[in-house]
Symmetry: C2
Subunit: 200 residues, 2 copies
C-alpha cells in the first residue's frame, strides 16, 4: 500500500517560505535559513535526510514550487535544481498549462498535470508502486492535500528560525485533522517531528 508522505522544513513561527518570492529568491526572504540544517547536518539530521530521500517512489509538486516567481507558461523553464534535480524519481507538477514530460538527468522526470490534485496524486501513486508518494510542496499544495485528507504522514523539520511573514503551513486546514506524534529527533539544527495524520 502506497503511503502518502510529506516532509517540510518550517520555521518556529510556522512558515515554509519567506515573503516576496521571486526569480532571484525562490523561497522568499530568509527562506534559505529554513534549510540550513539540511546543508550542514549532524548525524541525527543525516539519518532523517536519509529516510526522507530514500523512500519516495514519486513526488507531487505545486506549480509555484516548480516555477516560483515565473510564468508557468514559460515552456523553456527546467526547474530550479539544475540538470540533475535531487528527486531521482517521477515528479508530477500541478499546472494549468499542458506540457510534454521533461526528462532530466539522474532519474528525475517532471510530468505536468492539468487535471488537478486528485489526478496528480493518482498518477504519482501509479508511478510509485510499493514506495511512498511524497508531497514536495509548496505550502498551498501541502495545505490542500492536508485538507483533503490525502497526507498520511507529515514530517516537520522545525528550524530554529523566525521568518515573521511568508507562506504559512496549515493555512485553511480544518482543525478536525488529527495529528499523532510517532517519532521525534532533536538536534542543534532542527527538531524533527513525525506525525501520523487522520481525521476526527
Amino acid at each position: 500500500m502506497t503511503r502518502i508522505t510529506c516532509n517540510l522544513s518550517v520555521s518556529v513561527d510556522g512558515f515554509v517560505a519567506g515573503s516576496r518570492q521571486s526569480i532571484e529568491n525562490p523561497i522568499g526572504e530568509g527562506g534559505m535559513r529554513l534549510h540550513e540544517w539540511h546543508f550542514d547536518p549532524n548525524a541525527d539530521d543525516q539519518a532523517v535526510i536519509d529516510e526522507w530521500q530514500l523512500s519516495p517512489g514519486a513526488y507531487v509538486m505545486g506549480r509555484n514550487m516548480f516555477s516560483p516567481g515565473r510564468g508557468e507558461w514559460d515552456l523553456d523553464w527546467r526547474g530550479w535544481w539544475g540538470e540533475e534535480p535531487p528527486y531521482h524519481a517521477p515528479v508530477f507538477v500541478l499546472t494549468h498549462h499542458p506540457r510534454e514530460p521533461l526528462i532530466m538527468q539522474g532519474g528525475t522526470t517532471f510530468h505536468f498535470v492539468t487535471e488537478g490534485l486528485d489526478a496528480a496524486l493518482e498518477a504519482a501513486k501509479a508511478a510509485a508502486g510499493d514506495k511512498n508518494v511524497e508531497i514536495a510542496g509548496g505550502a498551498g499544495t501541502v495545505n490542500a492535500y492536508l485538507q483533503s485528507g490525502a497526507i498520511q504522514e507529515l514530517h516537520l523539520h522545525v528550524s530554529p528560525v523566525l521568518l515573521g511573514a511568508g507562506e504559512r503551513l496549515f493555512d485553511g486546514v480544518s482543525a478536525e485533522l488529527t495529528l499523532a506524534p510517532v517519532a521525534v529527533v532533536g538536534s542543534r539544527r532542527a527538531t524533527h517531528v513525525k506525525y501520523r495524520v487522520g481525521s476526527a
Copy 2:
C-alpha cells in the same frame, strides 16, 4: 543571576489559546486541548512539568490571563485557579487598574502592576531572588517580552492539535530574534523543545 523563562503550550499551528475567549471558556475554543498532555502526562512529560514548576521564584502574567473575558476593573475577581492557585510564588499581574495585593492559599500572592512591562519584570526579579522569573502568558504578554529581548529561555510544549484560529505566538516578534534549541523531549502527548533566546 535570575533567568527569565517562559513555558508555553502551543498548537502545531502556533496558537496558545483558541478564539472567542470568554468567562465560560477562558482559553478559547479548543484551547484546553493544548493542555491535555499536562493532565495526562507520561514519565517524560512529567519530568518536563517538574522542571517547569519547581524553578520559578516569581511570575509575570498579562491582564487577559488573569481575567480573560472579564473587566479588569472587577476588584472582586480572584483569578481562575480557585483559592489555591498552582503558582505558589508571587505573581505580578499587568493591569491598568491599581489594586491591593491578593493573598491566596499555598504561597501565591497576586501583585497588580500598573507601570508596564519593565516595572513588572523588575519587581518579579527582586521577588525571585536566585530563582527564575517565569513569564506565565498570555500570548500578547509573551510576545511583548520576546520582542523586548527579556526572555532568555523559551520552552515550547507543542501539542499535536490544530486550532485554526486564536492567539498566535510570535505575532509582531521581530525575525531578528535568534533561537537555539538546547533540549528536546518527545512523547505521544507533546513535543517539548527548549530554546535559548538571543538577538542577531
